[in-house]
Amino acid sequence: MMRYLLRRLAHSFLLVFGVSVLAFLFTALAPGNYFDEMRLNPQIAPETLVALRAQYELDRPLPLRYASWLNSVLHGQMGFSFAYNSPVAPLLLARAKNTLLLTVTATLLAWALALPLGVWSAERLGRLPDRVISWGTATLLVIPDLALALGLLVLAVRTHRFPTGGMVSLDFDSLTASGKIRDLVAHMALPVAALILSALPLLVRHVRAAVAEVLHAPFLLAAEGHGIPRFTLLFRYALPAAANPLLSLFGFSIGALLSGSLLIEVVMSWPGLGPFLLEAILARDIYVVIGGVLFSTIFLAAGNFLADMLLYWLDPRIRTESASR
């Protein structure tokens, strides 16, 4: 067990490290830097610019910059934001919390919907419920996420049922605890709905395919022959047997929802990483961009690690396999 866990952890760590190197390289290769805009300003002397660049170490060779950035990561700073004139980590953390709130909620809800829908669809393979679900997912699949989000916004504006932007109302601080929660949920409804709708079709289709594949396995026929009730058969027998591909998809779905979330946040003005990173990219605030990429990677790696652990827990064969290796 420990061996498997450690190996998986080491994989995740390597992934995060590799992505940080690439992120550093790409941002360095991209043209321009934060101080380029100041060059157009006649009031700032070129000497000042040179001094500023030296102060922020932008004139040093790349490996050295990477080393000093790593050092600042170890000290919990993750480099320095030019625009906010502050270490990156606390800035990012405040926004990442909001993004995580969206992504985690959307992931859980999307799976909670996809599992029963997919299983139902697989059980009625080729019959009416399956055809309706297939048709629905196919339609959702061809609508771009952006159009989906805009459509939801239009709907919200027309109906006046949901707030259409931000995370909390202006009078949030004056609300009671339950009022605060209600307010937050109301604000989350639209972005979460948009995320679920973008992720759901793929998940349903994969669940359907995975379950349909095991549905005719001899052990399911045997269980049916023993009179095991349909519900137990589908959810206690078929679903765990189909878990292997679905857990890999779980790790992947977290990544998809995270990147989807960045877009939705911009459209729905959710104060998460999305708008923050967009701003930083436009301003060439490179350490914020690198920090954001790193954050997403860590989140993704954590999701995949979780999926591996779940698989390990669900499938005893992997346990013995990793033990005998």
Binding site: M1, R319, T320, A323, S324, R325
Partner: protein
């Protein structure tokens, strides 16, 4: 006469790691020795888990033994480098119990039989196909079906096809690992007849690995009984059946299901 295959003190050890505690060792073969003479059949019988299949894959050079010697035509296969084993492997062919899983379902029957020739870069295309067709007829499949895919064949036909494919490279030794076990009784008899025919025409040597003592007794000149990684009894078929000396042999004999028509001297002791 020199034996074509001589196995000396063959040992195969697997390491088995557990979730807790130190790794355990598992002795699949625990000092196996025997010799097979050309044009004869040695049956290796035993319960499942007695090491029969490990022995088969060691002799077919698919696995390296932990220690011991494997003499084939004057060469010790247990000590030969991979480059040399590559030349030896075509001469020792292995046939599996379930041909369905070892034949590519999408390929045509002709492709399956001719493929070993392509891999060995022998013969041109025309000659390859001629040879494949003659092999198909040799194993009792008509050359007319050569274009069909293997998935259209019945179990017995698939096993014939597997044998034809094994014969492509003129092997000296054919290892039949439970090659009849998955077949119906009447098909078993057909394939058994084919094997006997091939042996007398082509002068092949068979290692017949099975848990079916009746078929072993019918096909083999000698029977070796394996139990827990060792050969516990080895001798001419009739001798082993009449005077079994080891408990494992007696158990196997007692477990043979028999139709009431035949008498069975060995168990009437």
């Amino acid at each position: 006469m020199e034996p074509i295959l001589k196995v000396e003190n063959l040992v195969k050890r697997y390491a088995k790691r557990n979730l807790v505690g130190p790794p355990q060792e598992f002795l699949a073969l625990d000092g196996v020795s025997f010799a097979v003479f050309s044009r004869s059949t040695l049956a290796i019988v035993g319960e499942s888990g007695s090491g029969k299949s490990t022995l088969a894959s060691c002799i077919a050079c698919l696995e390296l033994p932990t220690s011991g010697n494997l003499w084939f035509e004057g060469k010790n296969l247990a000590q030969s480098p991979e480059s040399e084993l590559r030349n030896i492997r075509p001469q020792i062919q292995l046939i599996f119990p379930d041909p369905a899983s070892s034949l590519h379902p999408g390929w045509s029957i002709l492709d399956i039989v001719a493929e070993p020739l392509i891999l060995q870069h022998k013969l041109g295309r025309k000659e390859r196909e001629l040879r494949a067709c003659s092999l198909l007829e040799r194993v009792g499949l008509s050359a007319e079906i050569a274009a069909r895919s293997a998935s259209t064949l019945s179990g017995g036909q698939r096993q014939r096809l597997a044998i034809a494919r094994a014969l492509t490279l003129d092997p000296k030794i054919l290892i039949l690992d439970e090659a009849l076990s998955a077949l119906d009784c009447s098909t078993q008899a057909q394939i058994a007849n084919l094997l006997l025919e091939l042996q007398s025409f082509l002068g092949m040597t068979f290692l017949f690995i099975t848990h079916d003592l009746t078929m072993a007794a019918h096909l083999a000149d000698e029977i070796a009984v394996m139990s827990a990684g060792r050969i516990v009894e080895l001798g001419p078929s009739a001798e082993v059946l009449r005077n079994p000396s080891h408990e494992a042999t007696r158990q196997l004999i007692a477990a043979v299901p028999q139709l009431p028509r035949s008498s069975w001297p060995a168990i009437q002791q």
